[in-house]
Amino acid sequence: MRLLAAEFRKLTYQRAMWGLLTAAVLFSALGTAATAVIFDQSSDGLGFGTLEDQVVVDSVYANAISGYIFAVLVGVLIVAGEFRHGTAVATYVAAPRRGQVFLAKLIASLVAGVVLMIVSTAGGIAGGMIALEFYPEAADPSVDIFVNTSLAAIVSGAVLGVLGASIAALIRSQIISLIGVLIWLFAIEPILLLLFPDQGKFFLQGLITAIMALDVESEQFNLNTADFADPLSATLLLLGYALVFAVLSMIVSIRRDVE
């Protein structure tokens, strides 16, 4: 508990963490608002339909979870920041049982990721509501989308927080870890999902989308979410990814010298 208390104290002291939370809220809010505008401006909603369709309005709200990129960044900073600033030495001298220290970091990353996602998703939903107020023709959203988006936010926050911390423990370099996860999430995964949807749907973004149980199809984007995994399988697979990376990084953290 002391280690956890120290981790949460460190989190709340760091301005960068508050900056990431603010950025996540703005990113999500602007993301949903912009999606509503883009769907309205595009005559056929980019192949998805129009705002008069409930599934399209649901898609707008589904974008409220787009802040998950910041959850993975928080995880990276919690672990890699220790090596970047050299505070790992003081931490491990004060608490030499590395397994316990790293477990505390994983839990802190998980909790921070969930909190960030709950707050940013709420901001995203609010952004969508405000934007859709300007389109009286827009359909009412389904109740399910709010439930599923909230679940996806919690699961993705937990999983990506842990993945970020794990990746940082394996790589150690904050810059390389940050650049690596950004390239993976913004470039490699979208390309895989576009070019190889049958395989791409089993990566992070495909699985997070699957939790929301949206039924959208777009030929332009080679996307049909009906083919995605069911929400329970997607959740379990995401948790499995997090568990595998957590165990791997735990083993490495215990065995490797602290430089």
């Binding site: 280690l3 460190k10 050299g86 505070t87 602290v258």
Partner: protein, 234 residues
Amino acid sequence: MIAIAFRGLTKTYGKVPAVDNFTAEVQAGRVTGFLGPNGAGKSTALRCLVGLSRPTKGRTRILGKRYPQLKNPLHHVGAVLDSRGFHPGLTGYQNLRVLASVGGLPGSRVDEVLAQVELTEARDKRVKGYSLGMKQRLSLAAALLGDPDVLILDEPANGLDPAGIAWLRGFIATQAQAGKTVLVSSHQLAELENVVDDVIIINKGKLVASGSLHDVTGDQTLEQAFLRLTGGAQ
């Protein structure tokens, strides 16, 4: 009574031995200088001692136990190993408060140690605005948090100006008077000579001398003895 023991400690990086079958002891309640040229293996030995590096062979003990076996080590051992070891965006108080949390210590203890190292006025200043000397003092404050019996100080005089070095000398003397065990590595041999009871000299990873200051130096100064023993005078 032995406070710190290195027993056949060997640490290799690849095939290069940084510390090679190093055996030495530090007596409780005494100030021991840990000396050696750059790259002699001092820092590596100290990192093995506090569990940051895993020995390739041999073992280390503090107060009779492996460091990770010490219950709440902040209360037994204070270590200064890296003056860079503070988050620059946090204040001096916040950095120490995080460490105090690990040891279950209250915030009031942080203020006490900040006062001990004369950093009370800089308490709420971000560490990125600290001078090197202030960072060294903050490291010493961190080491004092749990009021430990053993202090391990790796190059605490690095980057200090003459006033800072004089302050450090007083700090070590105060700790010695309080009966603490101090193991201090430094290149400030003339300064060290005034405060140490014993010395351990290491060169190329191997022990070259250990004992009381007088036994090791004889009629020479510490600097002369050091140069003679490490071949630096050639």
